[in-house]
Amino acid sequence: MNPLARKTAGLAASIGPGVTWITLFLFLPGLLMGVLAFMSNSPYGQPTLPFTTAAFSQVAGYSFLGWSPGNIEVIGRSLLQALYATFATIALAYPLAFLIARAPERRRAGLLMLVIIPSWTNQVVRAYAWMQILAPGTPLSHLAVTLGLLPQHMGLYPSSFAVSMGLIYNYLPYMVLPLYASVEKLDWRLVDAARDLYANGWRVFWHGVFPQTVPGLLAGIILVAIPSFGAYIVPKLLGGDRSVMLGNLIAQQFSSMPNWPFSAALTLVMLLFTFLGLILFRRMARRLNAGEANLL
């Protein structure tokens, strides 16, 4: 065999199966969704010809009943929930990342495990645990009722608040780990320099510490915001009719009252937001030459 043929054969044998598998079972289904989004919906809930953009009008809220804000609200709610989850995990992750990074070296691995192990339990179990905690009559719900935040005999679940809690709980480790990686590499001489310049602890953090943790922060934002936006389990279990997120809406259109083109159009919208966010943050990370974010 000549070298070129050998190289081609080696390439085909090594990457061939993987590329074929992912093309066939991931790209092709994705492409199919793209096509479905431009087809018409038959009365029986099956996509048919001709090609049309009707599904996208429906996403924007137009139907034979006129315009309704429902779908736009769902998209907005999903973005908002992703935003809440991101900010809350950032606020919780910074102190925790510092606690671990400043702990004696032999204890760090153990502390990291304390963060990681809960995320190894099944996602369904994790969401279920919050159903248990936020149900009517539990101490937390009772507290909310006492404070006048809830009507008598109501629970904190199902609600948008419960969805937020579930998302924060689910994705917190994904914020802690990249942040920890940044904090662990922190150059403390820069922090000391900031301490010389500023008396105020907050300004020391803002000028001496924060800039150094931005790479980890960006990676964490990607890891939390994107799956929160696309969440399915948490809003399904912890949310009610008024806290439906985009993932639930898509799934609903495929099962209970089938309208595949509409659902496929929603899927494209979700992908669009996902990739826009991804590209945005990757670009920011690249500009900062951020190590952790380059892993993505």
């Binding site: 963060v115 279920y128 009559g137």
Partner: protein, 274 residues
């Protein structure tokens, strides 16, 4: 100085509270699985009754069996294909690399719902066209392998990047033909990464719910789907607490086992892990 130490103390308190936040829900589930009162909001006693009930119903064991079958089957295939992909990507880094990198990264960032639903639709059409595959363990397996491939590839690729590029040349230089170098060089050198990749693939398969849910069929109720079903039908129940506690317990056992193994290897805490 006093001000700084106050900031640090507040920060430490928040951090410890956050750790508690991560563990509290799991403790609550486990604690209430031993609570004799069916619709309790406070703990009143201790019982194994709910575990006995789960055992008698039997559905969980079958679901567990299906999960392990699916996990092992898909992880073996996913590890082989993913490892080959990593070796190819590493060896033939060239102009096409960006396209190939997309194949690795896209499945990782794609939202689970889209992943699962598009595959469900695709398998549905495929079944109409050629009569295969019927929704069940096969479609779930295909889906699982497709998301395992990139993760395994990343783990193996990371190991390859860490290797001296001359090693494979050294093997050839020392009379190893391409075939001999597979068992004398590649397999032993990549062994830690292959094991880590396999374990990761297996864990991903066991842990996945969304993609499994959409690609499953009537006869393929794996453990996450089983517990989802009981929650959907009955909400919070003591039986569900017991099942969830068993799943939490399994995770803790694995974590303890891993910590034990690491402690015995003493000093090499972070080497072979992904």
């Amino acid at each position: 100085m006093k001000r700084t130490s106050l900031v640090i103390r507040i920060s430490q308190s928040v951090a410890i509270a956050t750790l508690a936040f991560l563990w509290l829900p799991l403790f609550v589930v486990v604690a209430f699985s031993f609570e004799p009162e069916a619709a309790a909001v406070h703990l009143t006693g201790f019982t194994f009754a709910w575990y006995e009930r789960v055992w008698e119903q039997g559905g969980m064991l079958h679901a567990l069996y299906l999960s392990v079958e699916l996990g092992l089957g898909s992880a073996i295939l996913g590890t082989v294909i993913g490892a080959l992909l990593a070796v190819g990507l590493h060896r033939y880094r060239g102009r096409g690399f960006a396209v190939l990198a997309l194949i690795v990264y896209l499945p990782i960032v794609m939202p689970d719902v889209i992943y699962g639903i598009s595959q469900m639709v695709f398998f549905n059409y495929l079944h109409q066209l050629i009569g295969w595959p019927r929704a069940g363990l096969v479609t779930m397996g295909i889906a699982h392998v497709s998301f395992q491939i990139p993760y395994v590839a990343l783990v193996v690729y990371a190991r390859l990047v860490g290797l001296d590029r001359n090693l494979v040349h050294a093997a050839a230089d020392l009379y190893a033909s391409p075939w001999k170098s597979v068992y004398a060089f590649w397999l032993p050198v990549l062994k830690p990464a292959l094991i880590a990749g396999f374990l990761l693939a297996f864990t991903l398969s066991l842990d996945d719910f969304v993609i499994s849910f959409f690609t499953s069929g009537p006869g393929s109720v794996t453990l996450p789907i089983y517990i989802w079903g009981t929650i959907a039908r009955h909400g919070v129940t003591p039986e569900t607490n017991a099942i969830a506690s068993l799943m939490i317990g399994a995770v803790l056992l694995v974590a303890l086992g891993q910590t034990f193994i690491r402690a015995r290897r003493n000093g090499h805490l972070l080497t072979d892990t992904a």
